[in-house]
């Protein structure tokens, strides 16, 4: 399992498409920084097949006041959880 890390909003960057294309069936996708916008109800659909394996960094959601708008299907993790995800993954891949 690889951990993919995306820091760009799907509303402003197309790089999320490359991340999705590169993901294996067990890989996880963690949204950080402006990437957390992808967790919003209006944008989460862009990540169609990844539901259940889509995560968002709690601190970056909170910093933007977006917690109330986060879709229920997105798993929220704090920075400790971020570290745990990297422990569990064989490698990490950052998309920016």
């Amino acid at each position: 399992m690889l951990l993919h890390i995306l820091n760009r909003s799907p509303a402003t960057s197309e790089v999320y498409r490359q991340a999705l294309a590169a993901m294996g069936p067990d890989d996880r996708l963690l949204l950080i920084e402006d990437g957390v916008q992808g967790a919003l109800k209006g944008l989460v659909g862009r990540f169609g097949d990844v539901r259940g394996r889509l995560l968002a960094l709690e601190e970056d959601l909170a910093a933007r006041g977006l917690e109330p708008l986060c879709d229920d299907s997105v798993v929220r993790v704090d920075v400790e959880g971020f570290v745990t995800l990297t422990e569990e993954a064989r490698k990490t891949v950052s998309w920016f």
Partner: protein, 130 residues
């Protein structure tokens, strides 16, 4: 586990440096060994000795130095990326005939080979891009 961090974002230009420092603290806090932080591309500006942000804002340069002091983390700065951006330690400043220097320990100017070595030595290498 042995971790390495690659930081390619300049301080205050993007969130990358904040994200990387926060992640680095969490890694060290969980008892992992952070082998090094490698500063590359615009990330070399994190080593700017003369950075003087407003006092009520996070001081990233000092933050990295504190991480190094607390956990013995080497702070490796790509020398090729640094020199062309005006980031020189005392030795390089003397070598290039410059007055003053802009990089000081615990930051160290190193070659790109150190990044390759970091990738080989670490169980996990996590990149923070701009």
């Amino acid at each position: 586990m042995r971790y390495g961090i690659l930081l390619m974002g300049a301080p205050y230009s993007s969130q990358a440096a904040h994200s990387a420092l926060r992640f680095a603290r969490a890694v060290a806090g969980r008892g992992h060994r952070l082998e090094a932080v490698f500063f590359y591309h615009e990330g070399v500006h994190n080593a700017a000795r003369l950075a003087a942000p407003p006092q009520d804002e996070p001081h990233l340069v000092d933050g990295w130095a504190a991480l190094s002091a607390d956990h013995g983390v080497p702070l490796q700065v790509c020398i090729a990326a640094a020199l062309r951006r005006g980031l020189l330690d005392e030795r390089e400043a003397a070598r290039h005939g410059k007055q003053g220097h802009s990089v000081e320990p615990p930051f160290e100017l190193t070659g790109l080979g150190q990044l390759v070595d970091l990738g080989l030595r670490c169980d996990r290498l996590v990149t923070f891009g701009p």
